[in-house]
Amino acid sequence: MSLLSLKHLTKTFESAAGPVHAVRDVSLDVAQGECLAIVGESGSGKTTLANMILGILGQTSGEVIFNGSLLSAKRTPDQRRNIQLVQQNPLSSLNPKRSVGASVRLGLDTYRIGEKAERWQTVENALEAVGLPAEMRKRAPAALSGGQRQRVGIARALACEPELLVLDEPTSALDVLVQARVLRLLNELRAERGLTYVFITHDLAVVRNIADRVAVFQNGQLVESGTTEQIFTQPKDKYTRNLIGAVPVVDLDEMALRDKLAETT
């Protein structure tokens, strides 16, 4: 049974220029323990989809089913706790007026995880699990680098002990070397804790190296989905092919793959 199931999910916004179909009739399954990448350019509807999964946005029609239960607009504490978010912007996602530790502790206090007296220790363990020193819990976000802040964001999400993590462009705002470390960290954490990821990004090269399955979106619609291997070696849809072909590549093997895909158009 899938951990998360989206059935005919649709979201339409009313605007001055007429209805905007942000997400159109999307059906997807995410298996327990896998990393599903949601790929698309701007306007593809991927963020709207993420917001519906997280329960911050209600759908116009369709169903979101988690662990066999239908999720409604008002989520139970358990449902809310089990689906957490890692945001794109490390700076804005941490409260500048609260210590890093206080931000990480929020989930523990909200769900009364562990004894109150032990929670700071849990926070310190959480920080160490993402590669940060325990003492960092007393510091303000402004004193941390982008990569460190992003790790704090990950620690905060994991403090709730969720089953599913929605990651919305988690490394797009990070430098090259920092991105590499954080991606490895995310991979390790997923394996260690048996987490399930819905990984949203526009970066196909990242997708190739982190996802088990890929869902390609364009204009709110699911264009193509399959295993990572399938999508990158035998993409069926022209849009997918063009997307892969547009990635600026660094080494000769990549260039060969791109040329091969261009040929089959």
Binding site: L54, I56, R75, P77, R80, R81, Q84, L85, Q87, N89, L91, S92, S93, L94, N95, P96, K97, R98, S103, L106, G107, T110, Y111, G153, R156, C160
Partner: protein
């Protein structure tokens, strides 16, 4: 803290502000010990020394019934500061709560709360205070009440604007996704980000509250004699200008120093706390 001091020190004017405020506050606190004529804050008369120009005995001269003006100014500072502190201690929290809830919760809460705020803001502040004082007995307590009623909406507006913009920030979204209760998000997440602006405004407001209160007493609507009050002192002496100039000039300067000091200090605080314009 060291960084805060460095920023303040880099701007000489704000240092001036801090010093002036310190002088005013110390004068007010230690008035009974510093004042050469501590009894002169009450209904004392000494016609032998009435209406004297500044001298060695009375540094700022005496008033029409012979009381030492310097001593009365020190006690008047007590009144002004108490008034300022009480007004702000009530107006700021009340306004903040209105603005915070309206700004974060939005919807009906926002509409209703901010409409109430708008009603109060639509009445010119001094007119409101004068109207209230016209109806109520002119005492210090009522003067404080009147000024508080006209002051709180400005805090509501300020905090509303900040809360509205903060609610779009990532950390608010994070708290919502985690499922933290609304009260936590409003008071433990958003409010701390409003505090620098609130504190800066309170400092700047001290000066303005003193002016408003002085204006009320100048019109005879505030504190009544024999309690010393800067505004009343200016009013009493105004008729005797330019002959007995000291009756007006020294209380006037006292107001100026207090207001100027709080203003400069508030500007400095704005920089230290990093408040945007």
């Amino acid at each position: 803290m060291i960084r805060a001091f460095r920023i303040l020190a880099a701007n000489p004017l704000s240092m001036v502000g801090v010093i002036l405020v310190a002088l005013v506050v110390l004068a007010a606190i230690f008035a009974p010990w510093i004042a050469p004529f501590p009894t002169h804050n009450g209904s004392v008369v000494d016609f032998a020394f009435a209406n004297r120009a500044p001298s060695a005995r009375n540094w700022m001269g005496t008033d029409l019934v012979g009381r030492d003006i310097f001593s009365r100014i020190l006690y008047a500072y007590q009144i002004s500061l108490v008034l300022g502190v009480v007004v702000l201690a009530i107006a700021a929290p009340v306004g903040t709560i209105f603005g915070l809830l309206a700004g974060y919760l939005g919807g009906w809460t926002e509409s209703i709360l901010m409409r109430i705020v708008d009603v109060f803001l639509s009445i010119p502040p001094l007119v409101l205070a004068i109207a209230m004082m016209g109806v109520l007995e002119p005492t210090l307590t009522n003067a404080m009440l009147a000024v508080t009623v006209m002051w709180w909406p400005w805090y509501a507006r300020l905090v509303y604007a900040i809360a509205r913009s903060e609610r779009e920030e990532g950390y608010v979204l994070a708290a919502e996704v985690i499922g933290a209760p609304t009260s936590h998000i409003a008071f433990r997440e958003i409010l701390p980000n409003c505090l620098p602006a609130i504190i800066t405004k309170m400092t700047l407001d001290m000066g303005f509250v003193i002016i408003i209160a002085s204006s009320l007493s100048f019109l005879g609507l505030g504190v009544q004699p024999p309690t010393p009050d800067l505004g009343s002192m200016v009013a009493e002496g105004a008729r005797y200008l330019p002959d007995s100039w000291w009756l007006t000039v020294f209380p006037g300067l006292a107001i100026l120093i207090a207001v100027f000091g709080f203003n400069l200090m508030g500007d400095g605080l704005r920089e230290v706390l990093g408040v945007d314009e």
